[in-house]
Symmetry: C2
Subunit: 119 residues, 2 copies
């Protein structure tokens, strides 16, 4: 069946959450949001493109930082309201310069940082 990005379920802001996962290691890097046009652009260009809710603009990941995400594969969940984006990440995915945005773990009730910024 041909994929049509308009067949996805978007929230009332026209957005769908997209989980970015490193294709080689399986590491979950970040979660960001796409609108239908960002989904289309990601597939067309092979460069993962989100919709920035704070800037209200398209966000070609790494366009300013150089930390681009090459699209390896896009997957859709059973409810068609979430995307899994397999990527090859150049450099850190997180704006704090860490590999992943999920660098804070809850252990024994405390917040522990389990990842350092890359240098």
């Amino acid at each position: 069946m041909q994929f049509d990005e308009s067949s996805l379920t978007y929230n009332d802001q026209g957005l769908i959450p997209a989980i970015a996962q490193e294709a080689d290691t399986g590491e979950v890097l970040m979660l960001a949001w796409m609108n239908a046009e960002a989904v289309r652009r990601s597939l067309e260009t092979g460069r993962v493109t989100y919709w920035s809710r704070s800037r209200q603009a398209f966000w070609v990941k790494g366009e300013t930082s150089g930390h681009v995400q090459e699209l390896i594969e896009l997957r859709v969940d059973c409810d068609r309201d979430c995307l899994l984006v397999l990527v090859r990440q150049s450099g850190p995915a997180c704006h704090t310069n860490r590999r992943s945005c999920f660098y804070t773990a809850i252990r024994d009730g405390d917040e522990i940082q389990i990842m350092s910024p890359e240098v």
Copy 2:
């Protein structure tokens, strides 16, 4: 620093997205939503508990199906508006009886099912 679930950023429905990842394999299983109380219960009981948006009720994953998620570790992202939940999943995570909800891949513009229901 002691973790306080009320310090997370919830959306206007009081919910935060939670990505469930199999702790041993790194496979991304599903995305669901939690409210602050679901976060608290997950940590307290070690059984991953979501908030069902369709039923508007707590959803102890696997309570009816037996396909429970044992909580291995909860992680918070840099913006504190998304959770990564490392789990040990019993049986399939998806209501379609597939291991993961992300069983549809987009390849060459077509939707391909890459995972079969378990029997």
